[in-house]
Amino acid sequence: MKDEPMDVKALLKSLSEACGVSGYEDEVRGVIRQAFEPYCDEIRVDTMGNLIGLKKGSGKGGARRKRVMLAGHMDEIGLMVTEIDQGFIRFTQVGGYDTRVLPAQAVTVFGRERLPGIIASVPPHVSGSSDKSTPMDELYVDVGLSESQVNKLARVGDLITLDRPCVELSDDLLCGKAFDDRASVAAIVTCLEILSQTAHEWDVYAVATVQEEVGLRGATTGAFGIAPDLGIAIDVGFGKQPGVKEKFAIILGKGPALARGPNIHPKLFAGLKATAEKFEIPYQVEVTSGGTGTDANAIQLTRDGIPTGLISIPERNMHTPVETISIKDVERTGRLLACYIAGLDADTMGQFVWDDDNGGEK
């Protein structure tokens, strides 16, 4: 066990700056493994690459003690080299960027060595003014090397990440390239730290999932392998900012958002809400009208069905290299998870029945 309290801000920075494009999460997995290690009894990496930390509970049942799975995805969206074109690098994307954010971004090409680069933009003097955005296949990366050097150092299939050191916008707001969903991984670490000093009966499976951005792939096999009794996905949600409709928006600094909707078991929503109220943790409610685009979607549909919840950390500028989150929201998310888990006992699953009262919040 660690003596020093964890520095959440430092952890967030190192997580955001680590490389881990979907399918290639090795570097960030190393960072997370270090963060999990002080608090977990066992750590393993499954076939897909999910990092699974087990923190054992004190309840009865031995190997089949009740299990809660926490899932935050460690992969980030990124780019991939498709062609070396006269010393310049053409690329496609892994996961979904708005291509309009790409021109004039600094990048790192993970070739035989790390190559700093820039996504080229043709000066307006040459291109003329246009209201059309530049399609991805017209964009390219300039790494400032000669054609023969580029041919030697970069290959088709190499990864490219947008290169963005984490910036402190204020005392509470951090801006970086991969808070989707490393902010949630930090919240899970916060939760584990609190649980290391708090009794809990249930086994906790802290999972940093892979390949969320390309179709919830890690969570699908991770949940099947763990077969948890309850699943909670933690992801980022759309922070309020110009252009985001109020119906989708949650507000930075006002606490984690608890999701409601078909993807969410009403009792898990109610349990998280009651916990937040009991421990005076600020929270918001987020409404989702179907399968969410998060690991919660995969977890709920695992095996013969798993009661699943979703907590969203408000984030502005999602899927850009300037993703912005509130440190307080991350800490509150970790605390909410820990308080909820500490309250799980032998009777909890008995409460997961359907009231058939139409899910009304009464």
Partner: protein, 345 residues
């Protein structure tokens, strides 16, 4: 009749409690096992009559849920904003009545008066993002007291007789299938192991059916549905998806399932033997729980059998009672006669 009760019940995807309660109270004494799983599916089992070798396990699924709405937030003037649950066409939303949440709060979907619209606006569909529900609340606080974000809503339509031999109501997709399945339970037990499943959340991605099929692991599955019936007057050379009054519709292929050809042919032969009309649903359109069931676990041959319904996913659909009864008869007959030998490749 049961269909009336089911149609009037409140049950958007994820909030099927009312419907589940009606179904369970009607069937619980007739099945050997009944469980409600973590997604809210009602999974039943009726043991096979007779003894002997391991009986065939046939699953029949109908979904409890209907398309609807979910409240996202209230604005300062007390109007409720909402998202759609499942596939509702924005064109059918304006000026409809709804009920919201456990309190069944009445409301209406409103759009601004025609006098205040431009000709250009009137030519465009109003997005559901620009529509609100009026529940008569004076302001945000008053609205949130009656309806919280995340409360579900559905249309306030009441079931009625309609035209000649037809009935009209909301949620026929898939309360009609539920009514068919309840009747099949009442006609049991059967010489095979019968697993009736009332699934949840079909309209938001076949969610209940997926986990239910994992649990049941059927040898063969039927999906009982009411399906798109588009038999309106049209240009020549364009067929209808299905037609009302022409009997149960057998699916050949839809967006999520290519039906085992031997199974669908077998069903068509049984219809002929039984003297029940049947039709094939135009391929490539729509999807059912079969899309999830047929590829869960090691897979199972799956056939959707549907009652044609005009105007599904709207506040008011229409079916023929003759089609309804023929669907029950055909489904029963197919289940009683089918063997694995009939459908194996």
């Amino acid at each position: 009749m049961m269909l009336e009760k089911l149609s009037n019940a409140f049950g958007p995807s994820g909030c099927e409690g009312d419907v589940r309660r009606i179904v369970i109270s009607d069937i619980k004494s007739r099945v050997d096992e009944l469980t409600v799983d973590h997604l809210g599916n009602v999974i039943c089992r009726m043991k096979a009559t007779g003894r002997g070798k391991k009986p065939l396990r046939i699953m029949a699924a109908a979904h409890l849920d209907e398309v609807g709405m979910i409240i996202t937030h209230a604005d300062d003037d007390g109007f409720l904003h909402f998202d759609k649950i499942g596939g509702i066409d924005d064109r059918i939303l304006p000026a409809k009545g709804v009920v919201i949440g456990a309190g069944k709060v009445p409301g209406v979907i409103i759009a601004k008066p025609v006098h205040l619209t431009s000709a250009e606006e009137r030519g465009k569909v109003i997005s559901h993002d620009d529509l609100v529900i009026d529940i008569g609340a004076a302001n945000k606080d008053a609205a949130v007291k009656k309806c919280a974000p995340g409360d579900y809503a559905t249309f306030d339509t009441r079931f009625r007789r309609f035209g000649r031999g037809l009935v009209a109501g909301k949620a026929f997709d898939d309360r009609v299938g539920c009514a068919v399945l309840i009747e099949l339970i009442k006609r049991g037990p059967y010489p095979f192991e019968f697993c009736p499943v009332f699934t949840t959340m079909e309209e938001v991605g076949l969610r209940g059916a997926k986990v239910a099929a994992f649990k049941v692991r059927p040898d063969i599955a039927l999906v009982l549905e009411s399906t798109i019936c588009e038999d309106s007057p049209k240009e020549k050379d364009r067929g209808s998806v299905t037609a009302i009054g022409k009997g149960p519709a057998l699916s050949l292929a839809d967006r999520g399932l290519i039906v085992n050809r031997k199974l669908v042919r077998f069903a068509a032969r049984r219809a002929a033997a039984l003297g029940v009309p049947c039709q094939f649903k135009q391929p490539g359109i729509g999807g059912t729980d079969g899309g999830a069931i047929h590829k869960e676990g090691e897979g199972a041959p799956t056939l959707p059998v549907s009652v044609p319904a005009r105007y599904i996913h709207s506040p008011m659909a229409v079916i023929s009672l003759r089609d309804f009864h023929h669907t029950i008869d055909l489904a029963e007959d197919v289940m009683r006669h089918v063997t694995l030998a009939d459908i194996q490749p």
